[in-house]
């Protein structure tokens, strides 16, 4: 177990200068999409916080979220961020294994009951008693319910934990659900994405540490600072969209000119994420910059929203067959009702008495 002293103490012990710390805070401000001038305010707070305990549970997932966090970020910054927290359980990253690992989790849960931050990646299968994903002989559901009880807040990392993700896609054989489908009585923050932008994970942690509270969330439970705007809103190719200039194939003139990828299936307009500005791989680029449309991975149900290469206006279901069947039904109905109505008409004509001049007089 690590001691939970303040960050300032730890940095000082490591001989890191105040200026370095300020620079780190400037980077943090950038990451959290806060005004760049707020670095010193962040520094003042961060220096005094105590490192909270973090328990990271991985359920029905592909480890992509962990990979994203550990691989693509600058080691120094990552270490600084992990300096800020005490990662007491993460079955991929921790050195301990087997009973020792589970013991560490249980110890942390006991010691920091009501204070630890619970990070979850992966969805939770509910079908058949949740047997489709187990750790140490316990179902994910069971472990989540237990760990959630003492958590101060839960961070659902990645689209699987946030919205159900790939396991939840049709036909969802394991009955996979999101954390928020199970836990209703704890603050949950969704960091969606498949995987989420690593800087967003660390940014949210930093925010929690800096302000001691969860950041402002949108109606999907995602931090507004990162998910407040769409990829489309912040896309450098947006002017081409407004001008109606679209690449029609991946190797046409439009694609080479860097025109909008809307017609190639870009889901940027309906996807909330920070890719267009935060970018990936240490700020190198993001999918659209590489010439591929956004697949909308940070939105619920993105696997079920039709082909990644079908444009947004295209239907997500088979309309043509329905239309053909409908036309046949309509025609059949017309023939039947038409025959009835013609019968009514003919009856009216036949039963009609011939009008005579006496009829005119009689009235």
């Amino acid at each position: 177990m690590t001691e939970h002293e303040t960050l300032e103490q730890r940095l000082h012990e490591q001989g890191i200068s105040r200026r370095s710390f300020l620079k780190f805070c400037a980077a943090m401000a950038t990451m959290m999409a806060l005004p760049p001038g707020s670095a010193s305010a962040i520094a003042a707070t961060l220096a005094k916080v105590k490192r909270p305990s973090v328990i990271w549970l991985s359920f029905q997932e592909c480890t992509g979220c962990t990979e994203s966090l550990t691989r693509s970020h600058s080691p120094t910054l990552e270490s600084m961020i992990f300096d800020m927290v005490s990662l007491d359980y993460h079955h991929t990253l921790q050195a301990a294994s087997g009973f020792a690992a589970e013991q560490a989790r249980e110890d942390a849960m006991k010691e920091f009951h009501g204070q630890y931050l619970l990070l979850v990646d992966g969805s939770i299968p509910l079908k058949d008693g949740g047997i489709y994903s187990t750790i140490a002989g316990r179902t994910n559901l069971n472990m989540l319910l237990e760990a959630a009880q003492g958590a101060a807040a839960i961070v659902a990392v990645g689209s699987c934990a946030a919205f159900g993700g790939l396991p939840n896609a049709q036909p969802n054989p394991t009955g996979a659900v999101a954390v928020s489908d199970i836990i209703k009585d704890k603050p949950i923050i969704n960091i969606s994405g498949c995987p989420p932008i690593p800087a967003v994970i660390t940014g949210v942690l930093a925010h929690y540490l800096t302000f001691g509270a969860l950041p402002a969330l949108d109606d999907q439970g995602r931090p507004k600072a990162f998910y407040g705007e769409t990829i489309h809103d912040r896309c450098y190719r947006r002017p081409f969209y407004d001008q109606g200039k679209f690449a029609k194939t991946f190797d046409d003139e439009g694609a080479r000119n860097g025109w909008c990828l809307y017609e190639l299936g870009c889901k940027g307009p309906t996807t909330h994420n920070a890719c267009a500005t935060t970018k990936w791989n240490g700020g190198t680029s993001f999918p659209i910059e590489s010439g591929h449309g956004c697949i909308g991975c940070s939105e619920p149900k993105f696997w079920d929203a039709g082909s990644f290469y079908a444009p947004l206006p295209a239907p997500t279901a088979d309309v043509s067959s329905v239309a053909q069947a409908a036309a046949v039904v309509g025609a059949a109905a017309a023939v039947i009702v038409g025959a009835i109505d013609r019968g009514k008409k003919t009856a009216a004509q036949q039963s009609r008495k011939k009008l005579t001049v006496d009829d005119l007089k009689g009235n």
């Binding site: 109606d219 999907q220 769409t230 489309h232 809103d233 407004d242 001008q243 109606g244 679209f246 809307y262 017609e263 307009p269 309906t270 939105e299 619920p300 149900k301 993105f302 079920d304 929203a305 039709g306 079908a310 444009p311 947004l312 206006p313 295209a314 239907p315 997500t316 279901a317 088979d318 309309v319 043509s320 329905v322 239309a323 069947a325 409908a326 036309a327 039904v329 309509g330 025609a331 109905a333 017309a334 023939v335 009702v337 038409g338 025959a339 109505d341 013609r342 008409k345």
Partner: protein, 218 residues
């Protein structure tokens, strides 16, 4: 929730709307035709077909001299219909949809043209609504359906324009609203006078056929 709604209107919603629209329209048009008419026993002086085809085309343009209110109706009506069809058929996003459903596609018009067409169509619709309120003839003729169908035709135009410009709401909300408004239009069209989008051609055919039969070049 928003994504789910969008997914629904792009999928199941669209299926339901298209099915109702097609069942209703095919039923309605075929029912009209099946009601039949007596073929005249009089000796024809011309061909029904030539008269019918001529009227089908020529009635697009009203040849009769009209009063100021009549001209207003014709011109505004024209602007609305042209604007509506330009935005409907030549906005690249709509062509994407048509290509996805029917496999047909054609070149899109520049966004400037589409924007102008949409603004003109919206303006014309507002003008026509105001005219419906103030013109004694239209006021007398109008019933609830006239206002209902006006609203249902207006909403797709308005939400579509807002969507292109991202006015008022987020893209996803506007896209959902736009598709939903079109679906509403599809659902109601066969059962209201919006059915004129097809029956007009039947009407013109019959009207022209009578004149063609009589050999009247109108």
């Amino acid at each position: 929730m928003e994504q789910e709604l969008l997914l629904w209107v792009r999928g199941t919603g669209l299926q339901i709307a298209s099915a109702v629209f097609l069942i209703g329209m095919v039923y309605r048009m075929l029912h009209i035709l099946l009601l039949g008419r007596k073929h005249s026993l009089a000796q024809p002086r011309g061909s029904e077909w030539s008269g019918a085809l001529r009227t089908l085309w020529k009635r697009t343009f009203v040849s009769t001299k009209l009063s100021a209110r009549g001209n207003f109706t014709v011109i505004t009506g024209f602007i609305f219909h042209i604007g509506f069809f330009v935005t409907f058929l030549f906005l690249s996003q709509h062509i994407d949809l048509i290509r996805a459903v029917l496999g047909l596609h054609w070149p899109a018009m520049p966004r400037g043209v589409i924007d102008m067409a949409a603004v003109l169509a919206i303006g014309a619709m507002v003008a026509l609504l105001v005219h419906r309120f103030v013109d004694p003839v239209k006021r007398l003729l109008s019933d609830y359906q006239d206002y209902l169908t006006w609203a249902l035709s207006f909403l797709p135009l308005l939400t579509g324009f807002m969507l292109l410009r991202e006015i008022g709401f987020e893209y996803i909300t506007l896209l959902t609203l736009h598709i939903a408004s079109v679906e509403l239009l599809l659902l109601v069209a066969p059962f209201t006078k919006l059915a004129h989008m097809f029956s007009t051609f039947i009407s013109r055919w019959y009207n022209g056929a009578v004149n063609g039969f009589k050999g009247i070049n109108i």
